[in-house]
Symmetry: C2
Subunit: 507 residues, 2 copies
C-alpha cells in the first residue's frame, strides 16, 4: 500500500537535515535515569519557565470567553483596558460571514475583491474561520506597526497572517520552487526550517557561508561565488534567505550589509526572504535591528520599486515567546497583485490561520500605551524579560570566551550562542573511533558530564573541519553562572584530556 | 524575479478547482449596496450566529490566563469543574521542555523515541511549542474517545493533532503523492480541499461518482471502472478518499457500503483516507455514523491487519463549530512505524499545532459527564444546537422538494443540502447567451432575486449536464421557513419563465 516506506514521496524521506535527535535522545534517557538536564536545545522560552505577559493573556482569555463581558463581576478579574481591548477584537470578529474565496483565474476581479473583502470580512466571530489572510482589522494593526517602525507606508492588503512564521516561509517557498533546478540561497549556519522545506518541496539549497571572523557578517563576494557555482551546476538561483538577527549565529546585520544584499538581489533578480522573527531580541546598542523593508525603501529607485521582498515575523519569539499560540505574519513588497492572489488562493485551501493567535499578533504590534491602566505592569514585565535576556547573552558569551579553545561571537540578537570549539586532534581521533562526528562527540561528553543539552553545529551547517555548538540563552538567569562554571570545568578538562600535542581543528 | 506570475510553481497556479468566487463576489457587492444577503456558502456556524458552548470556552480562557487560578475571585466567574479541567490541561502542559525532534534516518531509534517522548513531553507550557504531534495527554484522551466510540483499542502514538483536519489531509497526501502518475480516488461531488491539494502536490485526481438516485451512495462497480480507466491512462491509483457524512452531499454511508469500500481498498492496495469530520452531525436514526476504523476492525483478518487507513476529525464541525480555533486530529491504522516516523518528521518542520486548539480537542472528546457541575448546561446547549440542526435539515430538504423541478436527497448528516435543479432548455440557452455555466446562471438569478448566496454544483463536480447547488443548513431556524418560501417563489417563477416546452436538463 502507498504508505509503505519504500513507496513514500522521496522528498518527504529526503528532508533529513535538521536538529538531530541523538543529543536530545541521550539527554532524555539521562533525565529518565534521574539526572538533572538543562535543555538549551530549542528556543522555547515558556518551556524554560518564562512567564507569559499578563495583558495579552487577559485579552485573549476574554475573547475566548466573551460571555464574561456580560458578567457584572468581570472587573474583579480583568482590568478595564483588557476588557476594552477584548471588545475591540470581538468587534473585529463578530456578526460576520466566514469568508473563503478561492479565486477564479480571472484577475480582472482583483480590484473588486480587494474592496469587498475589506468591507465584508471585518466581521467573523472568533469561533469562525476568518478571511484566509487573517482578520482585516489585525492586518491593519500590523501595517500601522510596520509604518511606525520603518517610517514608510505599509499596505494591510499585502500582509497575510499565518499559523507561525514557519508556515509563512513554507507558503512562499512553495510558490517559488518548481523543481530541483530551482535554487534558494541559504546562510550556513542556518536554521533547519530552510533546508528541510527546500528538500520537501524538491528544490536545491544553495549555501552561502557567514563569516565567523566578521561576527557572522555576510560577505557579498561569497554570495557571488555561491551563485556562480550553483549556475555552473545548472541551477537557477531564484531566492535568497537572510535570518536577521541570526539563528543560530546571533548577529545583527548592519544597514550597509543589508544594502549590499538588496543590491545583490536586484542585480541577480532574486526574491529576498527576510526572516526577521528575532527583531525584538537585541542585546547591544551599536547595531540595532533594521528591517530589510526600511533599507529597501531608503535605497530609492529603482530598488524600492523592483526588489521583491517577503518579510516574516511571529509571536513566538521577541520577548513574548508565545510559541504555542502559532501566530505570525508576512509582508510582501513589490509582489504583483496576480501573485498575491495566487498566494491567497493557496492559503484558502486550509481555510484560515487560528484566530486567537491573530489576536496575539494584533496585541504584539499594538501593546498598551503610557497612560493605559495596564501599561506599567506590561512595561515592567517586558523590561524584566528583555534586560534579563541581555544580561544572559553577556554572561554566556563571556563564559564561553573564558574557556580554553572556545571562541564565541557576542550574541547581538536572537536567542542563541554559537561558540566555536577548537578540538584537539586527539579528540578528533577519539570521535572517529567512537563513530561520531567530532562536535557530536564533544556535545555528548558535555551532556554526560554536566547535563547541559546542546545541539552540535553540524545540525545547522558549518565550514568543513570547523566545529560549534548551539545553546539558547534561555535558562533562568540565576542558574546561568553555575551552568557556565560547569561548562568551563568540563571543557578545560576535555581539552587537557584530548590534547596530544598535535594541534587543533582549524578556525 | 521569481515571484512573477509567469515564473510561479505551475502546481500553485493549477489548483483552481474549488468554491468559485463569482457567486460570493456578487453577493458581497449586493450586500454593499444595502441588500440583505443570506450567506449559506460556507459551513461556518459561529459566523451565522451559533453561540459557542460555554464550558469549553471557560476552560480554554483559564488555560490562556492561568494566573486567574490564583485569584481568590476566580470562582465568581468560573464554575469549579471548569477550573479543575483547566488545571488538568495546565498540568499536561507545564514545567516542560519544548520538544522538537527531527529524526535521524536510523529507525532503530524508534522504540527509544516512543518511550522517551511519552515520558518527557507530558510537559510543555501552553505558551510553549508542544510535541509536534500534539500534547501526549490530549492524544491519550482522543484514543480513549475512539475506543469508547468503536469498541476497539486506539493507540495515542498513532494519533497526531493538527491545525484543523485540512492540514492533516494535506500532510498525508504529501506523503502519498510522488508525481502526476500517482492518482487519488476522490468522490464527485467532493469537497474542493481534495482537488486543490492534489493539484498543489502535482498528483492526479481520479474521480468516482456518488449515486444521487441511491441517496448519494457509493457503488463499488463504479469505483472499479474509475480505477480501470485511470490505469489505462498510466496512473497508479494509490489512495481513496471518502467523506462520511458527505460534503456537499450529506449522506451517511452504511456499514455494508463501508465494508465493500474497505474490501476494495484491500484488493486494490489503496490507502483509505476517511474524512469523518461531520461524525457528530447526524439528522436521522436509520443510518447512524459508523467509523471506517470500527468497520475495518469488525471485518477481522486479513483486513484489520492490512488495510491502511487514516481517519480525520476536527473541532470545526460537529455541533461545536469551533472553526476559528483550527484544531483537528488524524488516527493511523496499519501504517508502519517507519512511515509514522516520517510523518512526524515532516510535522516537526512547522514545530507544533496550536496548543489552545489541542485543548479544545481534548475537551471535545471528553466533555462534562452527568453529575459534573457544568453537565446540565453543556447538555442543554449541545442538545439545543443538534436538535435545531436536525429540524433545519428537514425544513430545508422538504422545502426544496416542494419546488418545481427540484429534487433533494435528505440531509442525513453534515451541514449541507445539495438539491438537483432540472433546468428548462430555455434556461440552458439563456445561460449560454450570458456566458455562464447553467448552474452559475441559476444561482446568480437566485441571489439577485432573494439574497440567498449559494455555491453552484459545478464547484464540487457533478455529472455532465446535471445541475445542483449547495447551501448550508446553518441559517437561524426561525428564518428558515421564510428563506425556503422565498426560494420556492423564485424557483417556480424561474421555471415558468424559462420553460420553452423543449424539456429539461437530464437527471
Amino acid at each position: 500500500m502507498a504508505l509503505e516506506y519504500e513507496l513514500l514521496n522521496e522528498n518527504v524521506k529526503k528532508c533529513q537535515y535538521a536538529v538531530r535527535g541523538e543529543l536530545y535522545l541521550r539527554a532524555s534517557e539521562l533525565q529518565k535515569e534521574g539526572k538533572k538536564i538543562i535543555f538549551t536545545n530549542v528556543g522555547n522560552p515558556h518551556a524554560l519557565g518564562q512567564k507569559p505577559l499578563t495583558f495579552p493573556r487577559q485579552v485573549v482569555a476574554l475573547c475566548q470567553a466573551p460571555f464574561l463581558l456580560d458578567d457584572p463581576n468581570v472587573g474583579m478579574l480583568f482590568p478595564a483596558d483588557a476588557i476594552a481591548r477584548a471588545k475591540h477584537y470581538l468587534s473585529l470578529t463578530s456578526g460576520g460571514l466566514g469568508i473563503i474565496i478561492i479565486f477564479t483565474k480571472n484577475s480582472l476581479l482583483y480590484p473588486v475583491i480587494k474592496k469587498v473583502i475589506l468591507l465584508l470580512s471585518l466581521s467573523v466571530l472568533s469561533g469562525a474561520y476568518s478571511d484566509s489572510r487573517g482578520l482585516p482589522g489585525v492586518r491593519k494593526e500590523v501595517a500601522e506597526f510596520i509604518q511606525r517602525r520603518d517610517g514608510y507606508p505599509s499596505d494591510p492588503e499585502l500582509i497575510f497572517l499565518t499559523d507561525g512564521a514557519s508556515k509563512g516561509v513554507m507558503q512562499i517557498l512553495n510558490c517559488v520552487i518548481r523543481g530541483e533546478g530551482d535554487g534558494i540561497l541559504v546562510p550556513v549556519p542556518q536554521y533547519p526550517l530552510y533546508s528541510a522545506t527546500i528538500s520537501l518541496l524538491g528544490g536545491s539549497l544553495v549555501p552561502y557561508y557567514l563569516d565567523e571572523s566578521e561576527n557572522w557578517g555576510l560577505d557579498v563576494n561569497n554570495l557571488r561565488q555561491s551563485v556562480a557555482q550553483a549556475r555552473s551546476q545548472g541551477i537557477s538561483v531564484r531566492a535568497m534567505v537572510i535570518i536577521n538577527p541570526g539563528n543560530p549565529t546571533g548577529q545583527c546585520l548592519s544597514e550597509a550589509n543589508l544594502k549590499e544584499i538588496l543590491r545583490f538581489c536586484y542585480n541577480e533578480k532574486l526574491v529576498l526572504l527576510g526572516d526577521e522573527v528575532y527583531q525584538q531580541n537585541i542585546y547591544q546598542d551599536e547595531r540595532p535591528f533594521i528591517s530589510s523593508k526600511k533599507v529597501l525603501m531608503e535605497m530609492g529607485s529603482p530598488f524600492n520599486k523592483e526588489v521583491q521582498l517577503v518579510s516574516f515575523h511571529t509571536v513566538s519569539k521577541g520577548y513574548w515567546g508565545e510559541c504555542g499560540q502559532r501566530g505570525g505574519y508576512f509582508e510582501m513588497t513589490n509582489i504583483p497583485p496576480r501573485v498575491v492572489e495566487e498566494i491567497y488562493k493557496v492559503a484558502s485551501i486550509a481555510l484560515s490561520p487560528n484566530v486567537s493567535a491573530q489576536i496575539f499578533m494584533g496585541l504584539m504590534v499594538s501593546p498598551p500605551k503610557p497612560g493605559d491602566i495596564s501599561y506599567d505592569q506590561f512595561a515592567r514585565e517586558s523590561k524584566g524579560i528583555l534586560e534579563s535576556l541581555r544580561r544572559r547573552a553577556k554572561i554566556m558569551t563571556d563564559g564561553f570566551n573564558s574557556c580554553k579553545n572556545v571562541v564565541c561571537n557576542f550574541t547581538e540578537g536572537a536567542m542563541y550562542s554559537f561558540p566555536q570549539i577548537r578540538l584537539p586532534t586527539g579528540a578528533l581521533q577519539a570521535a572517529k573511533q567512537a563513530g561520531k562526528v567530532p562536535d557530536v562527540f564533544y556535545c555528548l561528553k558535555l551532556l554526560e558530564a554536566t547535563g547541559i543539552s546542546t545541539v552540535p553545529g553540524s545540525g545547522f551547517g558549518q565550514k568543513e573541519g570547523v566545529f560549534h555548538l548551539r545553546t539558547t540563552i534561555l535558562p533562568a538567569e540565576e542558574e546561568m553562572p553555575e551552568i557556565m562554571d560547569s561548562f568551563k570545568k568540563f571543557n578545560d578538562e576535555f581539552m587537557t584530556q584530548y590534547d596530544n600535542g598535535f594541534g587543533y581543528s582549524r578556525m
